[in-house]
């Protein structure tokens, strides 16, 4: 347990988990403008928790990747499972912190937590999918690229978001987001069972 925590720069991750969770709790109900299409009559805002969720995803992903070496794939220890448990625990902790801060700041407990939890889980699922396809250290670019792409191309002509741009929706019940999270869970299970990505470059 100590090894899992230390090798993955647990203190850095814990600190980031707390900062991002508290930040998301404070701004859980806020919307932030997406600037690029401000002149068009289309929705131009996205929920604020996207940004702390993205930052935490990048930090967790980088710390976990830093703890894994290719020769460890043959190790007796299941490092993929260890990493998955490490990330899940910190993601849950961050979501709980977000809910707690949301409740304390009278923003409600369920909404900020649910929204932040969905965003964080969805982005981590994209990161795991990147790992599954052998991206290793570059896997954290997948969730960042998704957010950038979604904020630029999310809107359709009917002034609403495309279903694939679920992260821009200000309510947590986005079916596409839930599908991505489910896919991420399956990908994490595959990695834990195979102990190696589908493709190794």
């Amino acid at each position: 347990m100590t090894s899992v925590f230390r090798t993955r720069q647990g203190l850095t991750c814990l600190f980031a988990t707390m900062i991002c969770g508290v930040g998301a709790g404070f701004y859980g109900q806020k919307l932030i403008s997406i600037p690029f299409l401000g002149s068009l009559t289309m929705p131009t805002q996205m929920p604020a928790p996207v940004i702390p969720a993205l930052l935490l995803c990048v930090i967790l992903g980088a710390c976990v990747t830093g703890a894994e070496r290719r020769w460890m794939h043959a190790s007796v220890r299941n490092i993929w499972a260890h990493s998955a448990v490490f990330v899940i625990i910190l993601a849950l902790l961050s979501t709980l912190l977000c809910s707690g801060v949301g409740a304390l700041t009278n923003q409600g407990m369920v909404m900020p937590g649910a929204l932040y939890g969905r965003d964080l889980a969805g982005l981590l699922a994209l990161w795991v999918l990147g790992r599954l396809f052998g991206l290793f250290a570059a896997a954290t670019v997948v969730p960042v690229g998704y957010v950038v792409f979604a904020s630029a191309f999310a809107r359709n002509k009917e002034a609403s978001f495309y279903p694939w741009a679920w992260i821009m929706e200000s309510h947590p019940q986005a079916w596409m987001g839930i599908c991505i999270i489910a896919t991420g869970i399956v990908a994490a299970l595959i990695l834990a069972l195979r102990r190696q990505p589908l493709y190794i470059g």
Partner: protein, 426 residues
């Protein structure tokens, strides 16, 4: 240094170029830049999102590669600034290619020859892209690639995306993306916005280069540890100076980086009334006669006759006091839109000088009705398009009763009175 074929910017360029072009063609109204090269070059700022991200992420990849291999690949045969130059130029060039491609496409759509002043906007773009490359290089030197590459993307994205959305307007102009608010046909770009971008980007680039490393690459493996406190202080001060100078240069700017063209830039016709349009507005063809005919159709039935009709945004005159009527005119307007804009000038003038009373809603409702009627009437008179869709009970009145109501309503509203609803007194 790596050979060019192995530079990340080379294989990232096609991807970013395609996405930037899809974005440009999906969300930019090409008609809005017709006749103005300045508006065209400024509108290209929307693709800074892609060009800056490209330069930031590719320089982070290059820099983190060097961070890992320091002392092996990059011996101190070149001085620090040479090494930075050779590391960054492919990333900057790739970003510039994306940015200039979108600028060229928009310039082709503007159908005018670019002016020398447009080069200043392009210089601003080049410097903004360089600043993002320097930022990526800084992250790559300080952190491992697994941190620096995604953080370069997140950092550049957050800066580009959210500086333009605060209510503190000078901050908008540091990233450059807000330049796409420029310009309507009667406006020029406000060069304070460009200077804010240029100075901020140049100073920030220098600051990040200072913070990124030293001239002694072999001295210590960890770059941050190799930096002297003076070096760090210089870099931090330069970044602080870049923000404060950029904000100071943009202190008088508001949400749109444009200033109205002066009256001297408008050419007036010999028609009655005189119609004054500028060269951008005339680039779609000289339709001053059409504007004059539209206004005349209303003055013939009793609306006050202006001496001059202008599409300037520089002043705020009134027909009654100055004899000047303001209209809107864009070179992309169809004839129908030209007549509509000209005929709605009377109602627009009333809306611009809404009286200070408790009847705002009623005043506004009457102004809208007046606009609906006057535009329909002018289009019927000038273009022969039958007026349809007029609201009841105005539509149920005969032509003379409608004219009487419209004139009476205009007079009442000009005197700050709320006119009677159509049909009540007619």
């Amino acid at each position: 240094m790596y050979p060019l074929a192995k530079r990340p910017s080379v294989w990232l360029l096609p991807l970013f170029l395609v996405v930037a072009l899809i974005y440009l063609f999906s969300y930019t109204e090409m008609e809005s830049v017709r006749g103005s090269s300045q508006a065209a070059v400024a509108a290209a700022s929307t693709t800074l999102l892609f060009s800056c991200l490209l330069s930031s992420v590719s320089s982070a990849v290059e820099s983190s590669r060097e961070h890992l291999s320091r002392g092996v690949l990059d011996a101190a045969s070149r001085n620090y600034f040479e090494r930075v130059f050779f590391r960054l130029w492919p990333s900057v060039t790739a970003g510039v290619i994306v940015q200039f491609t979108s600028a060229i496409i928009l310039l082709l759509n503007s159908k005018v020859i670019p002016q020398l002043s447009d080069a200043l906007i392009l210089l601003g773009y080049v410097l903004a892209i360089t600043a993002h490359a320097a930022f990526g290089n800084f992250l790559g030197q300080w952190f491992h690639g697994r941190f620096s590459i995604p953080l370069a993307l997140v950092g550049s994205y957050v800066f580009l995306a959210f500086t333009g959305t605060t209510s503190f307007f000078p901050l908008h102009y540091l990233s450059g993306m807000t330049l796409n608010g420029c310009c309507m046909a009667a406006q020029n770009i406000n060069f304070h916005a460009i200077w804010a971008l240029i100075v901020f980007s140049a100073l920030a680039t220098t600051g990040f280069i200072f913070l990124a490393g030293t001239n002694r690459p072999l001295e210590k493996k960890r770059n941050s540890a190799a930096l002297s406190s003076g070096h760090r202080a210089t870099g931090a001060l330069l970044i602080l100076a870049s923000v404060s100078t950029g904000l100071w240069l943009g202190k008088d700017l508001e949400g749109i980086p444009a200033v109205a063209m002066s009256d001297e830039q408008f050419e007036c016709s010999n028609t009655r009334p005189q119609v004054c349009l500028n060269r951008v507005q005339l680039s779609g063809g000289d339709r001053r006669m059409l504007v004059a005919q539209s206004i005349s159709s209303l003055t013939k039935i009793g609306f006050p006759e202006p001496q001059r009709v202008t599409a300037s945004m520089d002043t705020d005159p009134t027909v009654e006091e100055d004899g000047v009527l303001l209209t809107a005119f864009e070179p992309s307007y169809t004839d129908e839109q030209v007549v509509y804009a000209a005929a709605s000038s009377y109602a627009s003038a009333l809306a611009n000088h809404l009286c200070d009373s408790d009847d705002f809603d009623q005043q506004f409702a009457m102004i809208q009705l007046l606009q609906e009627w006057s535009t329909g009437y002018a289009q019927e008179q000038v273009l022969g398009i039958p007026s349809v869709g007029l609201e009841q009970p105005l539509a149920s009145l005969n032509r003379d009763q409608q004219q009487t109501w419209a004139l009476g309503a205009y007079g009442s509203l000009a005197r700050c009175e709320v006119p009677a609803k159509p049909g009540k007194d007619s």
